[in-house]
C-alpha cells in the first residue's frame, strides 16, 4: 500500500470509528437501569464499541505507517478532512442535521488546523 493510500484509509477509518462509537453509546443508553458501572461495562459487550476500538487501532497504525514515509506538515492538515467526513457520515447514517452554521464552524476549524501545520 502506498503512503497516500494508507493516509486516506487512516482518515476514512478514523471517521467511521466515530460513527461506530456514537452507535455504541446510543445503544447503551437505551437500557437504563440506574447503575453506572453497568453502563460502562455494558459498553464492553457492545459490538459497536469493539468495532470502534478496532477501527481506531487500525487507523492509528495506518497513520503511523503513513507519516513515517510522508512529511508530517503535509499529512497533518489532511486530518481535518475527518471533520467533514464525520459530518457527512453522521448525516447519512445517524440522521444528524448539520446546519449551515455547523458547516461554517467546521470550515473555520479546518482552516485553523491547516495553519497550525504551517511552519
Amino acid at each position: 500500500m502506498s503512503a497516500m493510500t494508507m493516509l486516506w484509509s487512516s482518515i476514512l477509518l478514523g471517521g467511521i470509528a466515530q460513527i461506530l462509537l456514537k452507535c455504541g453509546v446510543s445503544g447503551a443508553q437505551k437500557s437504563k437501569d440506574g447503575k453506572a458501572q453497568r453502563w460502562w461495562l455494558g459498553l464492553l459487550t457492545s459490538g459497536w464499541i469493539w468495532a470502534w476500538g478496532l477501527s481506531f487501532v487500525i487507523a492509528t497504525v495506518l497513520w503511523l505507517l503513513a507519516v513515517s514515509q510522508l512529511n508530517i506538515s503535509y499529512a497533518f492538515p489532511l486530518l481535518s478532512a475527518g471533520y467533514v467526513l464525520v459530518a457527512i457520515l453522521s448525516r447519512i447514517f445517524l440522521g444528524e442535521k448539520v446546519s449551515w452554521k455547523r458547516w461554517a464552524a467546521i470550515a473555520v476549524i479546518c482552516l485553523g488546523v491547516v495553519l497550525i501545520a504551517a511552519h
Binding site: L111, G112, L115, I116
Partner: protein, 153 residues
C-alpha cells in the same frame, strides 16, 4: 473537574439523567467532558513525549521488539497512556450526550494544547502562522459551540 461532569461519570444512566441534565438551561456537561478529554489526551501525549525523550537520552536497544517494549515499559510513557485512557473515557461520555458532527470538530483543540504544551515543556518553537492557526481553531470552536450546537439530544 466540575461537579456535574463527575456526577455524570459516576452515574451516566441515572433515571432520565440525559434528559434531566440536557434540559437544564446553560447545560455544558458534554462541552466540559470534551474539554477534559482534550486536556487529558494532550497531557497524555506530552507525558509520552517526555518519556520518549528520556529514553532517547539514555540510549535505545536495537531490534523492533525490544525497542517497542522499552517504549511501553518507560514509566512516563505508561503514565501518559493511562492519562490518555481517561481522556478517551471522557470522550465516550461526551459522545453519549451530543451529536458527533458537533463534537468531533471540537477535538481540534487537541492540536492547540499539544502545540502550547510542546512550547512550554520542551521549548519547541511556534512560528507565526501556527499562532494564527491556534487563534483560528479557537474561533472555530467558539463558533461551533455558540452557533453550531443545535438541539441537544
Amino acid at each position: 473537574m466540575p461537579e456535574e461532569v463527575m456526577a455524570e461519570i459516576q452515574s451516566p444512566t441515572l433515571e432520565n439523567s440525559t434528559e434531566r441534565i440536557a434540559s437544564k438551561p446553560g447545560n455544558r456537561v458534554a462541552e466540559m467532558a470534551v474539554l477534559g478529554s482534550v486536556l487529558f489526551a494532550a497531557g497524555g501525549h506530552l507525558l509520552i513525549k517526555s518519556g520518549l525523550n528520556a529514553l532517547k537520552a539514555s540510549g535505545l536497544p536495537s531490534g523492533v521488539v525490544p525497542r517497542v517494549l522499552s517504549y511501553l515499559l518507560q514509566p512516563a510513557v505508561m503514565g501518559g497512556l493511562a492519562i490518555y485512557g481517561i481522556g478517551t473515557m471522557l470522550w465516550i461520555l461526551a459522545v453519549s450526550k451530543r451529536e458527533i458532527s458537533y463534537l468531533f470538530p471540537l477535538s481540534a483543540l487537541n492540536y492547540v494544547v499539544v502545540a502550547l504544551g510542546g512550547k512550554w515543556l520542551f521549548g519547541e518553537s511556534i512560528p507565526g502562522a501556527r499562532w494564527l492557526g491556534i487563534l483560528v481553531v479557537f474561533a472555530g470552536v467558539w463558533l461551533m459551540q455558540r452557533w453550531g450546537a443545535g438541539e441537544s439530544q
